[in-house]
């Protein structure tokens, strides 16, 4: 999408007027920020820009339009404010590694997008700036942060700081091929994981070449959906204090029996154990899967590339287990590393990117739910079913990690894909359920022991 084709950027004149007005003085800015929905854009403060361009690492998502809109908007802001910008879109499956290398090499960008787990790891090691000031300003201007989002980024979890500005709530929604399900008389979304696999098996029988459950079981972030399923069966990664690994339990065994039975029934597409981050997207978009759990990127792609599939798709919350329903939300943050010198300039950019005018357009093509209450009625969430589902998730979903404690050890546990690997041990290596669970327990204990 070019500058001129972006609806947001087409409103440049108005925005510039507002920017000019707001940049006039702190009083005007304060007055403006008190009005919900008011544009928060401000010019980069009159500080000397640090040497080199303002490098921004954006999180690449499965929507070219969204990626381009973010890039264009940052560059346009830079151009308007005399700040040289450089936007690099990073595959979010690679962000952790890229950041690790950049921290050690002293080549961190001035700002970057990240998920909660990485923010936890980086804030623990003192790598992120506190952005409480703009967090509060943005929140006050747009009706306040959603409670679930605010709780997820509470400073006590992040070494006492606001580690970033949430810009979109991620989470999984269950996608289903309603056209296939209609043929077998299934009109409602499955309410439990067991019901899901039962319906998937039934649907698969009537649709040769299609697999029931397009869920990743490989060493990628998508496969950590299985952690939520495990928790909904009553299994826990750690105790209530988040200190001791407790994955070995009868509840985890019940979960493993379910997933193993689904595998034995051939419900997972071949390759699910080695899928990369786009595996489930590809499976669904190519018509190979009846159900997938996805953040919304598939819907965005289908809307453009396969309207028929888009129309045939219905959405619902993740199923419940025998013990509870676990549907975690994961706010994504824009953060500023401690290595950034021109912090005020970067904060100005982050405030600019939090404007409803930009996000209102961005959400239409992105895969995020709202983070601010003032965003709830944006067109994206009222007119697009899957995005509406993400909004519901923000309103009704569970806190990140819940019922477990979302701390650094939990993030590390998930970074190691311990639960997907436990499943792989069973379905690939033929290990018994007990052995696989015992091995995961040992791995988990080692990880949690490091964090005391």
């Amino acid at each position: 999408m070019s500058h001129s084709s972006s609806p947001f950027l087409r409103r440049r004149r108005t925005r510039r007027q507002v920017v000019g007005g707001l940049a006039g003085g702190a009083a005007a800015f304060t007055a403006g920020s008190m009005l919900p929905g008011t544009l928060l854009a401000r010019k980069a403060p009159a500080v000397i820009q640090a040497s080199g361009p303002l490098t921004y690492w954006g999180g690449l998502i499965f929507s070219d339009a969204a990626n381009e809109m973010l890039t264009d908007t940052i560059n346009q802001w830079g151009s308007d404010n005399g700040v040289e910008t450089e936007v690099v879109m990073i595959n979010q499956n690679e962000t952790n590694q890229r950041v690790s290398a950049a921290v050690e090499a002293g080549t961190m960008p001035r700002a970057l997008d990240m998920g909660l787990d990485l923010a936890l790891l980086l804030s623990t090691s003192g790598q992120l700036q506190d952005v409480s000031d703009i967090y509060d300003t943005i929140g006050a201007a747009q009706g306040g942060w959603h409670e679930s989002v605010d709780g997820a980024v509470a400073p006590e979890k992040f070494n006492g700081i606001r580690a970033g500005v949430p810009f979109g709530a991620g989470g999984n929604v269950l996608f289903r091929r309603q056209d296939i399900l209609d043929e077998i008389g299934v009109t409602e979304a499955p309410a439990t994981w067991q019901e899901l696999s039962d319906v998937a098996a039934q649907a698969q029988e009537g649709a040769p070449g299609v697999y029931g459950l397009g869920l990743a079981l490989s060493n990628v972030g998508d496969a950590n959906l299985m952690v939520s399923a495990l928790q909904s069966y009553g299994g826990r990664i750690a105790d209530d204090e988040g200190v001791t690994c407790t994955i070995s339990s009868p509840e985890t065994m019940a979960f493993l029996e379910w997933v193993n039975a689904a595998w034995e029934a051939g419900l997972f597409p071949p390759g699910a154990t080695t899928w990369d981050g786009a595996g489930d997207n590809t499976a669904y978009l190519s018509g190979q899967a009846v159900f997938i759990a996805n953040t919304g990127s598939v819907s965005i792609a289908a809307q453009t590339d396969d309207p028929e599939l888009f129309e045939a798709t219905a959405y619902s919350a993740l199923p419940a287990g025998p013990v509870m329903q676990v549907a975690p939300i994961g706010p994504n943050l824009r953060a500023i590393p401690t290595s950034t010198e021109d912090v005020d300039t970067v904060k100005a950019l982050l405030e600019f990117l939090a404007q409803p005018e930009f996000l209102g357009e961005y959400y239409k093509v992105a895969i995020y739910g709202p983070v601010l209450q003032g965003q709830d009625e944006m067109e994206a969430f009222t007119s697009t079913p899957v995005l509406g589902g993400l909004r519901d998730l923000v309103l009704n979903g569970t806190a990140p990690g819940a019922p477990d404690v979302s701390n650094t050890a939990y993030a590390d546990f998930n970074s190691n894909f311990t639960v997907p690997k436990m499943i792989q041990r069973i379905v690939v290596d033929g290990m018994s359920l007990e052995e696989a669970m015992a091995e995961a327990q040992t791995s988990g204990e080692t990880i949690y022991a490091k964090y005391g």
Binding site: Q97, L121, G209, G271, T274, T442, T446
Partner: protein
């Protein structure tokens, strides 16, 4: 003045403790210093730095503390570690053997005066010239269970009607990765062997023919001994490259399924994912002894051959 100069010159020469040979040696050493310094800065420092942090609990952005062998102890408890060693050895040995046979065979073919030899030499380099990322992505697509070329061919022709998940099952994942790795690497072997073959004097073959040596005898007694040093060096280099290769595994399987294709660089990368630099460094350091043994063994063979 000139008289004085003439008289003093021998005295200077007499008081100098350095002989001409020593002075030349000193000059030589001085000339080598910049290269040596560069080598120390670019090779030795990172090498020993990696070793040193493998004994610490260093995480990204923090210096870490000395923890002795804890990282190696943790590594040895990792269920994937033994499999990683095994996979690395299998991948290096099998792909080296395959590349040796394919590379040598093609080199001997291209060393003949055949029509279109120049074009064939260029074409053979394509897998090597292609970016690894693209090459392995193509192989991944070929292996795909649904829609992949191999499965399409086998099922459409009824040679094997069932879908094979080449990269998704333990029995086929590592062989599939080895095949792709071999395909990507064999041109280097072929071209290196071809260059070596062109250096073998034709008179040797003519004399052997006159003496009644068979084709096999000429290959075994002339060709192989003549290109043996090149073979050894290529084996050494390729083994190191294969043991350190990352993109082939990462693109195709990410070390999975389970740990069926896990190798040292991918295991280290997972350490980086958790920002545990000490552990990641320990993984890298753990493979150094095996590579050193290989280096010394091949070097010994080359020197023995000389």
């Amino acid at each position: 003045m000139s008289l004085l100069a003439n008289q003093e010159a021998p005295r200077v020469a007499r008081t100098s403790r350095l002989t001409l040979a020593n002075r030349q040696a000193l000059t030589g050493y001085l000339l080598v210093v910049p290269a040596l310094a560069l080598l120390l800065a670019l090779v030795a420092y990172p090498f020993f730095f990696a070793i040193s942090i493998s004994f610490t609990d260093r995480v990204v952005g923090q210096p870490g503390n000395w923890i002795g062998l804890d990282n190696f102890r943790y590594l040895s408890q990792n269920p994937s570690f033994l499999k990683t060693i095994q996979n690395t050895i299998i991948m290096v040995v099998v792909s080296d053997i395959l590349k040796l046979f394919i590379g040598l065979g093609l080199a001997m073919l291209l060393n003949q005066a055949v029509r279109g030899r120049g074009l064939m030499r260029a074409v053979i380099l394509l897998p090597w010239a292609m970016p690894g990322f693209v090459a392995f992505l193509v192989w991944k697509l070929l292996y795909m269970p649904i829609g992949g070329a191999f499965n399409q061919i086998l099922t459409k022709t009824n040679i094997y009607p069932e879908i094979i998940d080449y990269l998704g099952q333990r029995s086929t994942a590592l062989p599939a990765v080895i095949l792709a790795t071999t395909w990507r690497g064999f041109p280097f072997w072929a071209i290196s062997f071809l260059a070596a073959l062109q250096g073998v004097p034709g008179e040797l073959y003519e004399a052997a023919k006159v003496d009644g040596a068979s084709s096999w005898q000429r290959f075994w007694d002339i060709t192989l001994p003549s290109i043996k040093p090149v073979i050894l060096i290529v084996v050494l280099m390729s083994s190191i490259w294969t043991a350190n290769s990352f993109e082939n595994i990462w693109i195709m399987t990410q070390g999975g399924p389970s740990d069926a294709t896990m190798v040292f660089p991918v295991l280290a990368y997972f350490g980086m994912q958790s920002q545990r630099l000490g552990e990641a460094a320990a993984v890298s350091v753990a493979m150094i002894p095996a590579l050193l043994i290989l280096v010394f063994f091949v070097t010994w063979l080359v020197e023995d051959d000389d």
